[in-house]
Protein backbone atom coordinates (compact mmCIF):
# COMPACT_ATOMS: atom_id res chain seq x y z
CA UNK A 1 0.00 0.00 0.00
CA UNK A 2 1.50 3.32 -0.97
CA UNK A 3 2.07 6.04 1.55
CA UNK A 4 0.22 8.86 -0.14
CA UNK A 5 -3.46 8.50 0.75
CA UNK A 6 -5.54 7.90 -2.32
CA UNK A 7 -2.61 6.82 -4.51
CA UNK A 8 -3.85 3.22 -4.50
CA UNK A 9 -7.28 4.36 -5.58
CA UNK A 10 -5.78 6.39 -8.41
CA UNK A 11 -3.61 3.52 -9.63
CA UNK A 12 -6.73 1.36 -9.67
CA UNK A 13 -8.53 4.02 -11.65
CA UNK A 14 -5.66 4.08 -14.12
CA UNK A 15 -5.86 0.31 -14.51
CA UNK A 16 -9.58 0.37 -15.26
CA UNK A 17 -9.06 3.17 -17.74
CA UNK A 18 -6.44 1.17 -19.63
CA UNK A 19 -8.77 -1.81 -19.65
CA UNK A 20 -11.45 0.52 -21.03
CA UNK A 21 -9.49 0.74 -24.26
CA UNK A 22 -8.27 -2.86 -24.43
CA UNK A 23 -9.87 -5.42 -26.76
CA UNK A 24 -12.97 -7.02 -25.28
CA UNK A 25 -13.34 -10.66 -24.39
CA UNK A 26 -17.03 -11.15 -25.04
CA UNK A 27 -17.94 -13.94 -27.43
CA UNK A 28 -20.81 -12.63 -29.54
CA UNK A 29 -22.58 -15.89 -29.12
CA UNK A 30 -25.24 -16.39 -31.79
CA UNK A 31 -23.00 -14.88 -34.46
CA UNK A 32 -19.68 -16.24 -33.25
CA UNK A 33 -19.56 -19.78 -31.96
CA UNK A 34 -17.47 -20.37 -28.86
CA UNK A 35 -14.23 -22.23 -29.28
CA UNK A 36 -15.10 -25.68 -28.06
CA UNK A 37 -12.43 -28.33 -27.72
CA UNK A 38 -12.93 -31.46 -29.81
CA UNK A 39 -12.97 -33.61 -26.71
CA UNK A 40 -15.89 -31.77 -25.17
CA UNK A 41 -18.42 -34.29 -23.97
CA UNK A 42 -21.26 -31.85 -23.97
CA UNK A 43 -24.64 -33.46 -23.94
CA UNK A 44 -25.34 -36.96 -25.15
CA UNK A 45 -27.38 -37.01 -28.31
CA UNK A 46 -28.56 -39.65 -30.68
CA UNK A 47 -27.20 -39.22 -34.17
CA UNK A 48 -29.46 -39.42 -37.19
CA UNK A 49 -28.43 -40.22 -40.74
CA UNK A 50 -29.19 -38.10 -43.79
CA UNK A 51 -32.73 -39.52 -44.04
CA UNK A 52 -33.50 -38.46 -40.52
CA UNK A 53 -33.52 -42.00 -39.22
CA UNK A 54 -31.85 -42.72 -35.92
CA UNK A 55 -28.55 -44.43 -36.38
CA UNK A 56 -28.74 -46.06 -33.00
CA UNK A 57 -29.53 -49.72 -33.24
CA UNK A 58 -29.92 -50.25 -29.51
CA UNK A 59 -26.97 -52.54 -29.08
CA UNK A 60 -26.51 -51.29 -25.49
CA UNK A 61 -22.78 -51.19 -25.96
CA UNK A 62 -22.43 -47.53 -25.10
CA UNK A 63 -24.50 -48.02 -21.98
CA UNK A 64 -22.43 -50.98 -21.00
CA UNK A 65 -19.17 -49.21 -21.59
CA UNK A 66 -20.08 -46.19 -19.51
CA UNK A 67 -18.32 -46.70 -16.18
CA UNK A 68 -20.67 -44.50 -14.23
CA UNK A 69 -23.88 -45.50 -15.93
CA UNK A 70 -24.72 -42.03 -17.06
CA UNK A 71 -25.96 -43.35 -20.39
CA UNK A 72 -29.50 -44.42 -20.14
CA UNK A 73 -31.18 -46.54 -22.77
CA UNK A 74 -34.65 -47.79 -22.98
CA UNK A 75 -36.74 -49.52 -25.58
CA UNK A 76 -39.20 -52.21 -26.39
CA UNK A 77 -38.17 -55.36 -28.11
CA UNK A 78 -39.37 -56.02 -31.66
CA UNK A 79 -42.29 -58.07 -30.49
CA UNK A 80 -43.46 -55.39 -28.12
CA UNK A 81 -43.14 -57.55 -25.05
CA UNK A 82 -40.44 -56.21 -22.84
CA UNK A 83 -39.35 -52.72 -22.08
CA UNK A 84 -35.63 -52.99 -21.67
CA UNK A 85 -34.26 -50.21 -19.58
CA UNK A 86 -30.63 -49.54 -18.98
CA UNK A 87 -29.12 -46.85 -16.86
CA UNK A 88 -29.87 -44.78 -13.80
CA UNK A 89 -33.56 -44.59 -13.39
CA UNK A 90 -33.95 -41.43 -11.36
CA UNK A 91 -34.55 -39.21 -14.37
CA UNK A 92 -37.62 -41.15 -15.21
CA UNK A 93 -41.17 -40.85 -14.17
CA UNK A 94 -41.41 -44.22 -12.51
CA UNK A 95 -38.54 -43.36 -10.25
CA UNK A 96 -39.71 -39.88 -9.46
CA UNK A 97 -42.93 -41.35 -8.37
CA UNK A 98 -41.12 -43.72 -6.10
CA UNK A 99 -39.11 -40.98 -4.54
CA UNK A 100 -42.25 -39.02 -3.97
CA UNK A 101 -43.78 -42.01 -2.28
CA UNK A 102 -40.71 -42.56 -0.22
CA UNK A 103 -40.71 -38.98 0.93
CA UNK A 104 -44.35 -39.11 1.87
CA UNK A 105 -43.71 -42.22 3.89
CA UNK A 106 -45.65 -44.73 1.80
CA UNK A 107 -44.33 -48.08 0.73
CA UNK A 108 -42.91 -48.20 -2.71
CA UNK A 109 -44.38 -50.82 -5.01
CA UNK A 110 -41.90 -52.74 -7.05
CA UNK A 111 -42.91 -52.74 -10.67
CA UNK A 112 -40.72 -55.70 -11.49
CA UNK A 113 -41.95 -57.79 -8.63
CA UNK A 114 -45.58 -56.93 -9.10
CA UNK A 115 -46.01 -57.72 -12.76
CA UNK A 116 -43.64 -60.56 -13.62
CA UNK A 117 -44.55 -64.15 -12.95
CA UNK A 118 -42.78 -65.04 -9.74
CA UNK A 119 -40.81 -68.19 -10.04
CA UNK A 120 -38.71 -70.01 -7.55
CA UNK A 121 -35.16 -69.35 -8.61
CA UNK A 122 -33.62 -72.11 -6.48
CA UNK A 123 -33.17 -74.27 -9.53
CA UNK A 124 -31.48 -71.40 -11.35
CA UNK A 125 -28.92 -71.31 -8.59
CA UNK A 126 -28.24 -75.02 -9.04
CA UNK A 127 -27.80 -74.52 -12.76
CA UNK A 128 -25.50 -71.60 -12.15
CA UNK A 129 -23.52 -73.63 -9.63
CA UNK A 130 -23.11 -76.34 -12.23
CA UNK A 131 -21.78 -73.83 -14.71
CA UNK A 132 -19.52 -72.22 -12.15
CA UNK A 133 -21.27 -68.83 -12.44
CA UNK A 134 -19.38 -68.26 -15.64
CA UNK A 135 -21.01 -65.71 -17.94
CA UNK A 136 -19.13 -67.23 -20.85
CA UNK A 137 -21.39 -70.24 -20.65
CA UNK A 138 -24.45 -68.06 -21.00
CA UNK A 139 -26.07 -70.06 -23.79
CA UNK A 140 -25.66 -73.31 -21.91
CA UNK A 141 -27.09 -71.75 -18.75
CA UNK A 142 -30.07 -70.35 -20.59
CA UNK A 143 -30.72 -73.64 -22.33
CA UNK A 144 -30.63 -75.43 -19.01
CA UNK A 145 -33.08 -72.92 -17.57
CA UNK A 146 -35.37 -73.37 -20.53
CA UNK A 147 -35.18 -77.11 -20.06
CA UNK A 148 -36.10 -76.73 -16.40
CA UNK A 149 -38.85 -74.15 -16.57
CA UNK A 150 -40.06 -74.69 -20.13
CA UNK A 151 -39.26 -71.05 -20.93
CA UNK A 152 -37.07 -68.23 -19.63
CA UNK A 153 -38.78 -66.45 -16.72
CA UNK A 154 -37.68 -62.86 -16.17
CA UNK A 155 -36.86 -63.58 -12.56
CA UNK A 156 -34.51 -66.30 -13.65
CA UNK A 157 -32.76 -63.99 -16.12
CA UNK A 158 -32.33 -61.36 -13.45
CA UNK A 159 -30.98 -63.93 -11.06
CA UNK A 160 -28.48 -64.99 -13.73
CA UNK A 161 -27.47 -61.41 -14.31
CA UNK A 162 -27.00 -60.76 -10.61
CA UNK A 163 -25.11 -63.92 -9.87
CA UNK A 164 -22.76 -63.98 -12.82
CA UNK A 165 -22.18 -60.26 -12.92
CA UNK A 166 -23.17 -60.14 -16.58
CA UNK A 167 -25.18 -57.07 -17.54
CA UNK A 168 -28.83 -57.79 -17.93
CA UNK A 169 -28.80 -56.40 -21.44
CA UNK A 170 -26.24 -59.06 -22.33
CA UNK A 171 -28.30 -61.86 -20.89
CA UNK A 172 -31.36 -60.51 -22.59
CA UNK A 173 -29.51 -60.15 -25.88
CA UNK A 174 -28.39 -63.77 -25.76
CA UNK A 175 -31.88 -64.92 -24.96
CA UNK A 176 -33.43 -63.04 -27.84
CA UNK A 177 -30.74 -63.97 -30.33
CA UNK A 178 -31.35 -67.72 -30.28
CA UNK A 179 -34.63 -68.77 -31.80
CA UNK A 180 -35.05 -71.82 -29.64
CA UNK A 181 -35.09 -69.79 -26.43
CA UNK A 182 -38.55 -68.57 -25.58
CA UNK A 183 -39.86 -66.02 -23.08
CA UNK A 184 -43.50 -67.03 -23.05
CA UNK A 185 -44.40 -69.95 -20.91
CA UNK A 186 -45.36 -72.98 -22.97
CA UNK A 187 -46.03 -71.53 -26.33
CA UNK A 188 -46.42 -74.89 -27.88
CA UNK A 189 -49.48 -74.48 -30.02
CA UNK A 190 -50.12 -72.06 -32.81
CA UNK A 191 -52.93 -70.94 -35.07
CA UNK A 192 -51.41 -70.11 -38.45
CA UNK A 193 -53.11 -68.47 -41.39
CA UNK A 194 -51.77 -68.65 -44.93
CA UNK A 195 -51.32 -65.37 -46.74
CA UNK A 196 -50.65 -66.59 -50.24
CA UNK A 197 -52.47 -64.83 -53.09
CA UNK A 198 -54.89 -67.66 -53.47
CA UNK A 199 -55.91 -67.64 -49.83
CA UNK A 200 -56.19 -63.87 -49.65
CA UNK A 201 -58.58 -63.93 -52.60
CA UNK A 202 -60.52 -66.63 -50.82
CA UNK A 203 -60.89 -64.43 -47.69
CA UNK A 204 -57.80 -65.09 -45.56
CA UNK A 205 -57.69 -61.38 -44.70
CA UNK A 206 -61.07 -61.33 -43.04
CA UNK A 207 -60.23 -64.55 -41.22
CA UNK A 208 -57.11 -62.93 -39.83
CA UNK A 209 -58.99 -59.83 -38.77
CA UNK A 210 -61.65 -61.84 -37.04
CA UNK A 211 -59.12 -64.03 -35.31
CA UNK A 212 -57.08 -61.15 -33.99
CA UNK A 213 -60.27 -59.44 -32.80
CA UNK A 214 -61.59 -62.50 -31.09
CA UNK A 215 -58.31 -63.35 -29.39
CA UNK A 216 -57.50 -59.79 -28.56
CA UNK A 217 -54.02 -59.87 -29.94
CA UNK A 218 -52.07 -59.36 -33.11
CA UNK A 219 -50.48 -61.73 -35.52
CA UNK A 220 -46.99 -62.75 -34.59
CA UNK A 221 -47.84 -62.60 -30.90
CA UNK A 222 -48.84 -64.99 -28.26
CA UNK A 223 -52.37 -64.92 -27.02
CA UNK A 224 -51.98 -63.54 -23.57
CA UNK A 225 -54.25 -65.85 -21.64
CA UNK A 226 -53.39 -69.13 -23.32
CA UNK A 227 -50.54 -71.10 -24.69
CA UNK A 228 -51.57 -70.24 -28.22
CA UNK A 229 -49.82 -68.09 -30.71
CA UNK A 230 -51.18 -66.38 -33.84
CA UNK A 231 -48.85 -66.72 -36.78
CA UNK A 232 -48.88 -66.36 -40.49
CA UNK A 233 -47.88 -69.40 -42.51
CA UNK A 234 -44.67 -69.01 -44.51
CA UNK A 235 -46.02 -70.89 -47.52
CA UNK A 236 -49.13 -72.66 -48.67
CA UNK A 237 -49.34 -76.33 -47.84
CA UNK A 238 -49.70 -78.73 -50.74
CA UNK A 239 -53.25 -79.78 -51.63
CA UNK A 240 -54.80 -77.67 -48.91
CA UNK A 241 -57.99 -75.63 -49.31
CA UNK A 242 -58.17 -71.82 -49.35
CA UNK A 243 -58.41 -69.94 -47.10
CA UNK A 244 -56.03 -72.11 -45.12
CA UNK A 245 -55.90 -72.05 -41.36
CA UNK A 246 -53.57 -74.45 -39.62
CA UNK A 247 -53.94 -75.29 -35.94
CA UNK A 248 -50.92 -77.13 -34.57
CA UNK A 249 -50.02 -78.33 -38.06
CA UNK A 250 -53.57 -79.51 -38.68
CA UNK A 251 -55.19 -77.75 -41.69
CA UNK A 252 -58.79 -76.81 -41.03
CA UNK A 253 -61.02 -77.98 -43.84
CA UNK A 254 -64.55 -76.71 -43.35
CA UNK A 255 -63.80 -73.00 -43.48
CA UNK A 256 -64.68 -70.23 -45.87
CA UNK A 257 -64.99 -66.45 -45.79
CA UNK A 258 -68.63 -66.57 -44.74
CA UNK A 259 -68.47 -68.79 -41.68
CA UNK A 260 -65.07 -67.49 -40.55
CA UNK A 261 -66.51 -65.15 -37.91
CA UNK A 262 -68.64 -67.69 -36.12
CA UNK A 263 -65.89 -70.28 -36.44
CA UNK A 264 -63.33 -67.99 -34.86
CA UNK A 265 -65.73 -67.02 -32.06
CA UNK A 266 -66.36 -70.68 -31.36
CA UNK A 267 -62.65 -71.33 -31.38
CA UNK A 268 -62.02 -68.47 -28.99
CA UNK A 269 -64.76 -69.74 -26.72
CA UNK A 270 -63.28 -73.20 -26.78
CA UNK A 271 -59.82 -72.03 -25.86
CA UNK A 272 -61.08 -69.60 -23.28
CA UNK A 273 -62.86 -72.40 -21.53
Amino acid sequence: MPRIPGAGLLSGMRLTLTRFFQPKRTVMYPEAKPDIAPRNRGRLELVTDEHGTLKCETCFQCAQACPIECIDMGGTDTKGRFAVHWGPAEQYAERREESAMRRSGRTVPDAAAATGARVNTAKVDEILEAHDYDPHHMLAILEAIQATYGHLPVDALKRVSRATGAWYAMVYGTATFYKHLAFEPGVTRSIAVCRCANCLVAGAGSVMGTLSYEFGTEFGRAIPWSNLRLESLPSHLPDAPSPLVVIDGEPQRDLNAKNAASWAAALAGRYAA
Binding site: G116, D155, P224, W225, A266
Partner: protein, 183 residues
Protein backbone atom coordinates in the same frame (compact mmCIF):
# COMPACT_ATOMS: atom_id res chain seq x y z
CA UNK B 1 3.72 -44.36 8.61
CA UNK B 2 5.62 -44.85 11.70
CA UNK B 3 6.15 -48.11 13.46
CA UNK B 4 7.11 -46.31 16.63
CA UNK B 5 3.74 -44.66 16.78
CA UNK B 6 2.07 -48.06 16.85
CA UNK B 7 4.30 -49.14 19.73
CA UNK B 8 3.72 -45.91 21.55
CA UNK B 9 -0.03 -46.19 21.20
CA UNK B 10 -0.03 -49.80 22.28
CA UNK B 11 2.10 -48.90 25.28
CA UNK B 12 -0.01 -45.90 26.23
CA UNK B 13 -3.40 -47.51 26.00
CA UNK B 14 -2.58 -51.18 26.53
CA UNK B 15 -5.70 -52.97 27.63
CA UNK B 16 -8.01 -50.29 26.37
CA UNK B 17 -7.41 -51.08 22.73
CA UNK B 18 -10.05 -53.48 21.53
CA UNK B 19 -7.91 -54.64 18.62
CA UNK B 20 -4.19 -54.30 18.01
CA UNK B 21 -3.00 -51.08 16.44
CA UNK B 22 -3.38 -51.33 12.70
CA UNK B 23 -1.25 -49.53 10.20
CA UNK B 24 -1.84 -49.36 6.49
CA UNK B 25 -0.35 -46.84 4.13
CA UNK B 26 -0.01 -43.66 6.18
CA UNK B 27 -2.89 -44.35 8.49
CA UNK B 28 -2.77 -45.68 12.01
CA UNK B 29 -5.93 -47.05 13.48
CA UNK B 30 -6.98 -47.88 17.01
CA UNK B 31 -10.31 -49.18 18.18
CA UNK B 32 -11.56 -48.39 21.66
CA UNK B 33 -14.65 -48.95 23.70
CA UNK B 34 -17.32 -46.36 24.27
CA UNK B 35 -16.48 -45.95 27.93
CA UNK B 36 -12.88 -44.97 27.19
CA UNK B 37 -13.63 -42.51 24.44
CA UNK B 38 -13.25 -39.26 26.35
CA UNK B 39 -10.12 -40.41 28.17
CA UNK B 40 -8.39 -41.65 25.07
CA UNK B 41 -9.17 -38.49 23.15
CA UNK B 42 -7.83 -36.37 25.96
CA UNK B 43 -4.65 -38.39 26.29
CA UNK B 44 -4.09 -38.38 22.57
CA UNK B 45 -4.60 -34.64 22.48
CA UNK B 46 -2.53 -33.72 25.51
CA UNK B 47 0.25 -36.31 25.71
CA UNK B 48 3.48 -34.51 24.86
CA UNK B 49 4.67 -37.55 22.91
CA UNK B 50 1.52 -37.73 20.78
CA UNK B 51 0.00 -34.25 20.46
CA UNK B 52 -2.77 -35.10 18.05
CA UNK B 53 -4.06 -31.58 18.20
CA UNK B 54 -5.86 -31.32 14.88
CA UNK B 55 -9.24 -32.86 14.35
CA UNK B 56 -9.44 -33.54 10.65
CA UNK B 57 -12.74 -35.32 10.61
CA UNK B 58 -15.43 -36.75 12.81
CA UNK B 59 -18.06 -39.08 11.51
CA UNK B 60 -20.45 -41.82 12.46
CA UNK B 61 -20.74 -45.30 11.03
CA UNK B 62 -23.70 -47.62 11.22
CA UNK B 63 -22.60 -51.19 10.79
CA UNK B 64 -26.09 -52.56 10.99
CA UNK B 65 -25.47 -54.03 14.45
CA UNK B 66 -23.92 -51.18 16.32
CA UNK B 67 -22.79 -47.64 15.74
CA UNK B 68 -19.28 -46.28 15.63
CA UNK B 69 -17.92 -42.81 15.92
CA UNK B 70 -14.71 -42.30 14.00
CA UNK B 71 -12.20 -39.53 14.67
CA UNK B 72 -9.40 -38.69 12.28
CA UNK B 73 -6.63 -36.78 13.98
CA UNK B 74 -3.41 -35.27 12.83
CA UNK B 75 -0.41 -34.79 15.04
CA UNK B 76 1.18 -31.40 15.15
CA UNK B 77 4.34 -33.06 16.43
CA UNK B 78 5.12 -35.64 13.77
CA UNK B 79 2.49 -35.15 11.12
CA UNK B 80 1.13 -38.66 11.72
CA UNK B 81 -2.52 -39.37 11.16
CA UNK B 82 -4.53 -41.40 13.59
CA UNK B 83 -7.94 -42.93 13.26
CA UNK B 84 -9.79 -43.64 16.46
CA UNK B 85 -12.82 -45.87 16.12
CA UNK B 86 -15.10 -45.75 19.12
CA UNK B 87 -17.07 -48.96 18.86
CA UNK B 88 -20.08 -50.31 20.60
CA UNK B 89 -22.70 -47.60 20.52
CA UNK B 90 -26.16 -49.00 21.00
CA UNK B 91 -28.16 -48.70 17.81
CA UNK B 92 -31.42 -48.00 19.58
CA UNK B 93 -30.09 -45.17 21.73
CA UNK B 94 -26.59 -44.20 20.67
CA UNK B 95 -24.89 -41.80 23.06
CA UNK B 96 -21.33 -40.63 23.36
CA UNK B 97 -19.55 -37.77 25.05
CA UNK B 98 -18.94 -34.75 22.89
CA UNK B 99 -15.44 -33.87 21.73
CA UNK B 100 -16.17 -30.15 21.77
CA UNK B 101 -14.28 -29.70 25.03
CA UNK B 102 -11.09 -30.45 23.08
CA UNK B 103 -12.04 -29.19 19.65
CA UNK B 104 -14.83 -26.59 19.58
CA UNK B 105 -14.81 -27.06 15.82
CA UNK B 106 -16.30 -30.51 16.26
CA UNK B 107 -19.63 -28.90 17.08
CA UNK B 108 -21.02 -28.88 13.58
CA UNK B 109 -19.58 -32.25 12.67
CA UNK B 110 -21.32 -33.68 15.74
CA UNK B 111 -24.51 -31.94 14.70
CA UNK B 112 -24.18 -33.53 11.31
CA UNK B 113 -23.56 -36.95 12.82
CA UNK B 114 -26.59 -36.49 15.03
CA UNK B 115 -28.64 -35.44 12.04
CA UNK B 116 -27.59 -38.40 9.96
CA UNK B 117 -27.34 -41.18 12.54
CA UNK B 118 -29.17 -39.96 15.61
CA UNK B 119 -26.06 -40.28 17.75
CA UNK B 120 -26.41 -38.02 20.75
CA UNK B 121 -23.25 -36.21 21.77
CA UNK B 122 -23.53 -35.37 25.43
CA UNK B 123 -22.04 -31.98 26.12
CA UNK B 124 -22.55 -30.46 22.70
CA UNK B 125 -24.23 -27.13 23.27
CA UNK B 126 -26.04 -27.00 19.97
CA UNK B 127 -27.07 -30.53 19.12
CA UNK B 128 -29.91 -30.13 16.65
CA UNK B 129 -30.58 -30.94 13.04
CA UNK B 130 -28.22 -29.25 10.64
CA UNK B 131 -29.14 -30.41 7.15
CA UNK B 132 -32.59 -31.85 7.57
CA UNK B 133 -35.55 -29.74 8.61
CA UNK B 134 -36.32 -29.51 12.30
CA UNK B 135 -39.45 -31.64 12.09
CA UNK B 136 -37.75 -34.45 10.22
CA UNK B 137 -37.95 -37.71 12.09
CA UNK B 138 -35.67 -40.32 10.58
CA UNK B 139 -31.91 -40.57 10.38
CA UNK B 140 -30.99 -40.96 6.75
CA UNK B 141 -27.56 -42.56 6.90
CA UNK B 142 -28.66 -45.44 9.08
CA UNK B 143 -28.64 -48.74 7.30
CA UNK B 144 -32.34 -49.32 7.83
CA UNK B 145 -33.20 -46.18 5.89
CA UNK B 146 -33.77 -47.42 2.37
CA UNK B 147 -33.32 -45.34 -0.68
CA UNK B 148 -35.96 -45.65 -3.34
CA UNK B 149 -33.31 -47.46 -5.29
CA UNK B 150 -32.90 -50.05 -2.56
CA UNK B 151 -36.60 -50.38 -2.14
CA UNK B 152 -37.25 -51.16 -5.75
CA UNK B 153 -34.49 -53.68 -5.55
CA UNK B 154 -35.23 -55.37 -2.31
CA UNK B 155 -38.30 -57.57 -2.97
CA UNK B 156 -36.86 -59.10 -6.10
CA UNK B 157 -33.17 -59.52 -5.51
CA UNK B 158 -31.28 -59.28 -8.73
CA UNK B 159 -33.24 -56.45 -10.23
CA UNK B 160 -30.86 -53.73 -11.06
CA UNK B 161 -31.88 -50.78 -13.15
CA UNK B 162 -33.98 -53.07 -15.28
CA UNK B 163 -37.66 -53.07 -14.97
CA UNK B 164 -40.11 -55.21 -16.75
CA UNK B 165 -43.41 -54.09 -18.14
CA UNK B 166 -45.41 -56.23 -20.44
CA UNK B 167 -48.29 -58.60 -20.41
CA UNK B 168 -49.55 -59.07 -16.90
CA UNK B 169 -49.33 -62.77 -16.46
CA UNK B 170 -51.78 -62.87 -13.59
CA UNK B 171 -54.58 -61.16 -15.50
CA UNK B 172 -57.40 -63.62 -15.94
CA UNK B 173 -58.66 -64.71 -19.29
CA UNK B 174 -62.13 -63.40 -18.46
CA UNK B 175 -60.97 -59.83 -18.04
CA UNK B 176 -59.26 -59.93 -21.37
CA UNK B 177 -62.10 -61.63 -23.18
CA UNK B 178 -64.72 -59.22 -21.98
CA UNK B 179 -65.36 -57.80 -25.42
CA UNK B 180 -65.56 -61.13 -27.15
CA UNK B 181 -69.17 -61.75 -28.24
CA UNK B 182 -68.71 -65.50 -28.20
CA UNK B 183 -67.66 -65.81 -24.58
Amino acid sequence: MDRRLALLLAETFGERLLTPVRQRYDETEIRIALADATDVLRVVHDDPALRFSMLIDLCGVDTGEEMHVVYHLSSSLSGDWLRIIVAGLDRTAPRIASATFLWPGAEWMERETYDMFGIIFEGNRDLRRIYMPDDYRSFPLRKDFYLADDASRSPAAGVRNMERVGTPADATAATLLRKSPGA
